[in-house]
Each structure stands twice: as structure tokens, then as C-alpha cells.
């Protein structure tokens, strides 16, 4: 059991089944699907509220999603914590790692370029997630497993957009 917890990686099928079972419990106990991207929008709104004050909460979108720490926000905080715990006990916690290997193999190991591209990618991702009304968790796993039409369409187009762009980045630009 201990060696299982300290293993760096598990079978992707074991992990997937685990996430599936977790989704049962989440529905049964909390009545909610596992989803993450709204919490980023709430955090963005809370930061704006810290900077410009209450006026930020008047934005129609922030009125819709409500700027407070809720169940899903704590879920995202939990994801950071859970991944940290798994990484620490399996000796996989990274320090000083700015540039992923696959990125470095095509674009070199400069941290600045990688960070600038990551910011740019994050902007597109965050905007797209809210545009689509969900992300790889909310639509891609929780929505598709409920057979939601919106989620099946989203999940398919997430991967179409992602696969085309990744090929463009690594086989055309690089």
C-alpha cells in the first residue's frame, strides 16, 4: 500500500476509474460535478475587486458566477494540495523547473520565452473556457459522462483545436 502511494505514476486506467468513482461521490454527497474553470474566473474577479473595489462585482458576468469562495473554488485549491502531496511523497516535486522537456527540444531552454508563451496560452485558454462554459474537467469529463450535448460538442472541439494547434507549433513553427 505504501509503495503504491509513493509510486510516481499509476496506470492511466486506474487513475481514470478513480476519477470516475470520485465523480459518483461528488454527485452523491455534494450534488455537484467535478469542474474547475469557473473558479479561475471568480479569482480573476476577486483580484479586480481588490484593485478597483466593489465596482468590479457589478460586471454582469461576475454577478452571474458570484465572486465568493464556494465548493468548486475549494475543489481547485484541493487539486493543488492533492497533486503536491502525491508529488512530495513520490519524490516528484519539482524545484526550479521553468521549461518542459518537449518545449525545450523544439524552442530551447530559455525560461523567458516559455513564460511569455505560457501567459499568452493561458489568456486564450481562460477566455475559451469561459466562452465554452467549461473546460476539460467540467465539459470533458463531468459533462460527457452525463451525456450532455453541450459537453460532447465541446470535448470534441477542444481536441480538434488542441491537436491542430500543437501540430502547427511543433511541426510548422518549430
Amino acid at each position: 500500500m505504501m509503495t503504491l502511494l509513493t509510486d510516481v505514476g499509476w496506470s492511466p486506467y486506474a487513475v481514470g476509474i478513480g476519477i470516475g468513482v470520485l465523480s459518483w461521490l461528488s454527485f452523491l454527497i455534494s450534488g455537484k460535478p467535478l469542474a474547475t474553470s469557473t473558479s479561475f474566473a471568480q479569482t480573476g474577479g476577486m483580484i479586480e475587486r481588490m484593485i478597483i473595489g466593489k465596482k468590479a462585482s457589478q460586471r454582469p458576468y461576475y454577478k452571474k458566477i458570484k465572486l465568493n469562495i464556494n465548493w468548486q473554488w475549494m475543489l481547485v485549491l484541493g487539486v493543488v494540495t492533492g497533486s503536491f502531496l502525491s508529488a512530495i511523497i513520490s519524490g516528484d516535486f519539482k524545484t526550479g523547473q521553468w521549461v518542459p522537456y518537449v518545449w525545450a527540444s523544439a524552442f530551447g531552454d530559455g525560461a523567458l520565452l516559455r513564460v511569455i508563451v505560457a501567459i499568452f496560452g493561458g489568456i486564450i485558454l481562460g477566455f475559451g473556457a469561459r466562452f465554452a462554459g467549461g473546460c476539460t474537467s467540467g465539459h470533458g469529463i463531468s459533462g460527457t459522462l452525463q451525456l450532455a450535448v453541450s459537453s460532447w460538442i465541446s470535448a470534441i472541439f477542444f481536441f480538434i483545436g488542441g491537436i491542430l494547434t500543437a501540430h502547427l507549433i511543433f511541426y510548422v513553427i518549430a
Binding site: 487513475v15 474566473a41 521549461v99 518545449w103 496560452g121
Partner: protein, 189 residues
């Protein structure tokens, strides 16, 4: 009456927050064990050379779907569906896909990547995502009655759309996913 109870902070039920945190810890633990808190694994999936992400997602979907629809049949749970439109779920999802490949993480896996210590996720990706959601919030009043409403179809499920019993869809979808996973394994991925 109910409003008054909600307004009093002393009686606010904090249990949902603890459950959220607990489910999140398990979710993050699993994401890390699955290797999907790593840029390399995600980008190699999008480059179609490593199928870890698809294996994790599809086995979660097939497991989740059977359990959720069983519990729904027994009346234990209600579905929680996102309504959608072609504008949102085609255009929005394509934009998301571009960001997915450029960043190399998605919102759930970047939370995991942050816990895993990856600095491009912490310094670059997180800031970008927060900024991107804020830009959406600023543009929302101009988008909500236009592109986001284009081809609106509401919060329907595939069984509702096809006007059939839930299991008429659940069983073939489950079988299709299992076959797809077997095929991926057979092809050596």
C-alpha cells in the same frame, strides 16, 4: 425567511467547502498519479504520440457515466447539465483548444501542475488564465446575446435529444469507449 437564515453568517454551513476541498485533494492526487499534471504528457497527447490523457479521460467517463446513470435511475441524484449553443461549444471550444496546446495545461491540470512545482504553470499559465477569464468578463455583455446564443440548444442530454431511454445511449457509448481504448492499446500507444 430563508433569506434571513442565509444572511446570518453564524449559521452558514461550511461543510460543503470541506467536502469540496476533500474531493479536490483526491482529484489532484489522481491527476498527478496519472501524469497529467505535466506539460510533456499533455502536449504529447495533442501531438498524438502519447495517449495517456485520452486513456485517463475515457476511463473516467465510462466509469462515471455508468455510476451516475445508475444512481439517477434509483433517484439518488439529479444531473447537473451545462446548457450550450453552437457558438459557445464550437467557437469557444476551438479557442480553448488553441490555448490548451499553447499553454500545455488546462484549468484542472494547471492546478495540479502548480502543486507539482512547475514554474511555467505558476508564473506564466496561472496569470494568463486569470487574465483571459477577466477579458471574457469584460466582453461578456457584448457576447451574451450574440455569439453565445448562436444555435442555442439548452441543457439537453443525448438520450433527450434522441428521445430514447437513457440506457439506449449509455450502453453503446460505454461499449464504444471500451472498444476505442482496446484499439488504442492494440495500436501500441
Amino acid at each position: 425567511m430563508e433569506k434571513q437564515v442565509q444572511a446570518a453568517p453564524a449559521v452558514k454551513d461550511r461543510r460543503p467547502l470541506f467536502f469540496g476541498l476533500a474531493f479536490g485533494i483526491l482529484f489532484g492526487f489522481l491527476l498527478h498519479k496519472g501524469g497529467v499534471t505535466k506539460y510533456d504528457v499533455i502536449v504529447n497527447q495533442l501531438l498524438l504520440v502519447d495517449f495517456t490523457v485520452v486513456k485517463v479521460m475515457l476511463s473516467a467517463v465510462v466509469t462515471g457515466m455508468i455510476g451516475i446513470y445508475s444512481m439517477k435511475s434509483m433517484g439518488w441524484i439529479k444531473l447537473s447539465l451545462k446548457s450550450g449553443s453552437f457558438g459557445m461549444n464550437v467557437i469557444g471550444a476551438l479557442i480553448f483548444g488553441v490555448g490548451f496546446a499553447v499553454l500545455g495545461y488546462c484549468p484542472g491540470t494547471i492546478a495540479g501542475a502548480i502543486g507539482n512545482g512547475y514554474l511555467d504553470a505558476i508564473v506564466g499559465g496561472l496569470a494568463g488564465i486569470l487574465l483571459g477569464t477577466w477579458i471574457f468578463a469584460v466582453m461578456y455583455p457584448r457576447l451574451k446575446d450574440g455569439i453565445l446564443k448562436k444555435g442555442d440548444f439548452g441543457d439537453i442530454t443525448l438520450p433527450k435529444l434522441l428521445k430514447v431511454n437513457d440506457w439506449v445511449v449509455v450502453v453503446p457509448v460505454a461499449a464504444m469507449i471500451v472498444l476505442l481504448l482496446l484499439w488504442i492499446e492494440r495500436s501500441g500507444f
